[in-house]
Symmetry: C2
Subunit: 344 residues, 2 copies
DNA sequence: GCCAATCTTGCATCCGTATGCAATGCGCGC
DNA sequence: GCGCGCATTGCATACGGATGCAAGATTGGC
């Protein structure tokens, strides 16, 4: 009744040569059968593929990579999975890559000194392209090192000192939309809460916002650098503003900050939006929850992903091509945190 | 003034042979210099490594994979990035893998028919191991197919029909802890809200919870299958229970459901925990936010990750080894959703 | 000072697939 | 019926590094 006691040896997968010998053709034929567009008679291909299916042969991707020097792997560098915006982006990105036959090698980097060590595999693995997702952690120098001689795209961050392709939401447009919206809804003394103030996304949002406030003749009641893009940083910033007084609207640099802000204000007894209107940026799913009803500028994530994939597929992000910055338009989503529950 | 107009050709990376010829040694020597423990004189290794650094030589990982038939890549299969628990887990997992020199190839699968197609790369890429994270989507059959002849670990799900290694939080322990806690805090008519009722995690939590209620002589006032592990599903379930009445505590199968439940109840005018106590499962970061203050059973994520990594490193999840289920103890985290703000 | 044991090193080959080139076969036009 | 041209196919080799084996270099023992 027992299975025989011999060690179950891991059976080595079949190779193209073995398959070829079984069928009585050359290894080249097998290779061609699996290569779309290769020069091979349709019936032979059919026959080989059928045979392959029977014996469960699959081409070894590693060997293929070596001879084609193409891996079909895209490295994705990310550093902040705490902000729900990024997991959502990664999910869409990896699915879109998969749809065009590319795999995602994930590099989750940690703030610290040994960044090059963390990214060393990125170079040794010969990924076809690198997508760097808001790696606020990477300095311009590391950025250049990581993307040297390699197709690369930055998402949600622009490269300042390096010449790199960037796909990014039009942060200025969004910040202006928020400012306009505050203006239209009668807010006049407005505060801005930065996440990491030195990041390019923050600077773009902040500058455009402040400029637009001035154009409307509104008052910038406060400018706070919360130090990080986190829920608790948002809470602290909001409480500080509440205590100080003189603010009737706050634009948080992103939604997770804004969520903290809304909760903290309400717990402290302030009414949102009656006393203080709140707006964020990104439109993470939480922003749409009834509890938050957060007015925010929706990042065009789908388009951003599409553009990035297209650049990888058509090679326009390959080294040697002239890099450029693609700014994608977003959309203002008005919710109850600025216009009250009636307008929802 | 313009740079010369020649096409910038992508300079091909140097090979071990070229490096060897430059130094005047054999290619083998170079290979050995980069192979820890290889038979090579210390000074020669030193010399080669120094030279390599100078000319920026890095061993080609693809070629190495081919000859060693080891990729140092672990495939991570995931399907639900919406629940914040999973991004947090993925983040820790990928960092831990990176720490031991393994890369993470991400497979973000979508519910649907062509699962094998989505996972086909998993087999062709010869990953050293597969970690399947709560792939509630995968049937036992697909599971077996995906892990065939391959080191594999399931996290947060047990395999029922396949013989696979599982690392999982002790769901029954957690459910009992919640039941005990409800009992101690005077709750008597308790409801359970399932996520996907057929998932193994749900069944374990549900069965243990109901059993413990009975042991305490408490009433199971309702058993709801919310249909998915989502915020909105939690809202709907909670509102249904509130309308029906007769429930003074609800155990949601996970935190994201519970968060929806808390919000919906409060919006409907119920007091949490005075009228209804709420508990969840996972301890996602949101559970600790003051707004939620969610009592929950904390999954031992760090330990789960450690155990999984260890199994990969010591080969105990390799094919041929006897698979087993590792249940890791978690911890009840009491917060204001059950014991009121005083106890916080 | 000589020989054996050990450490180093290089040579040759392998890993499994892709592909340029040459050879073969087939079809078609005249 | 012959010849040209295209479609197929196989052969040989490349991709870049790992490694068994044997030769060469060192060291130590007596």
């Amino acid at each position: 009744m027992a299975k025989n006691g011999t060690i179950v040896e891991k059976r080595k997968p079949m190779t193209a040569r073995e398959l070829a010998r079984m069928i009585g053709v050359s290894q080249s034929a097998v290779s061609r059968a699996f290569t779309p567009g290769a020069s091979i008679a349709p019936d032979l291909r059919e026959k080989i593929l059928r045979f392959a299916e029977d014996v469960d042969y699959h081409p070894n991707a590693i060997a293929s990579m070596l001879s084609k020097s193409r891996t079909n792997i895209v490295g994705i560098v990310i550093s902040d999975m705490q902000n729900p915006f990024y997991p959502a982006l990664i999910e869409k990105l990896s699915r879109a890559l998969q749809r065009v036959g590319l795999q995602s090698l994930l590099f989750n980097i940690t703030r610290g000194a040994n960044l090059e060590e963390q990214l060393s595999a990125l170079r040794r693995y010969n990924v076809d392209a690198v997508i760097i997702v808001s790696a606020t952690i990477l300095s311009g120098q590391t950025l250049r090192w990581a993307t040297e001689d390699r197709a690369a795209i930055l998402i949600n961050r622009v490269a300042e000192d390096a010449e790199l392709n960037c796909v990014i939401c039009d942060n200025a447009e969004g910040a202006r939309a928020i400012a306009d919206h505050f203006h239209e809804t009668g807010r006049r003394r407005v505060a801005y809460v930065a996440g990491l103030s030195h990041t390019t996304t923050n600077r773009e949002r902040q500058n455009a916002f402040i400029t637009r406030l001035a154009e409307h003749g509104m008052t910038l009641s406060a400018l706070i650098d919360s130090g990080e893009y986190s829920y608790y940083a948002g809470r602290n910033a909001a409480l500080g503003l509440l205590e100080r007084g003189g603010t009737d609207a706050i634009f948080f640099a992103n939604d997770i900050l804004a969520a903290g802000g809304i909760d903290a204000l309400r717990e402290a007894g302030a009414r949102v939006p009656e006393d203080i209107a709140i707006a964020g940026f990104d439109d993470i799913s939480m922003a749409g929850w009834p509890h938050y009803g957060l007015t925010t500028f929706r990042q065009p994530v789908d388009t951003i992903v599409d553009v990035a994939i297209t650049m990888i597929e058509d090679g326009s992000c390959a080294p040697g091509q002239t890099p450029g910055i693609r700014r994608i338009s977003g959309e203002l989503i008005k919710r109850s945190s600025t216009v009250g529950p009636d307008a929802t």
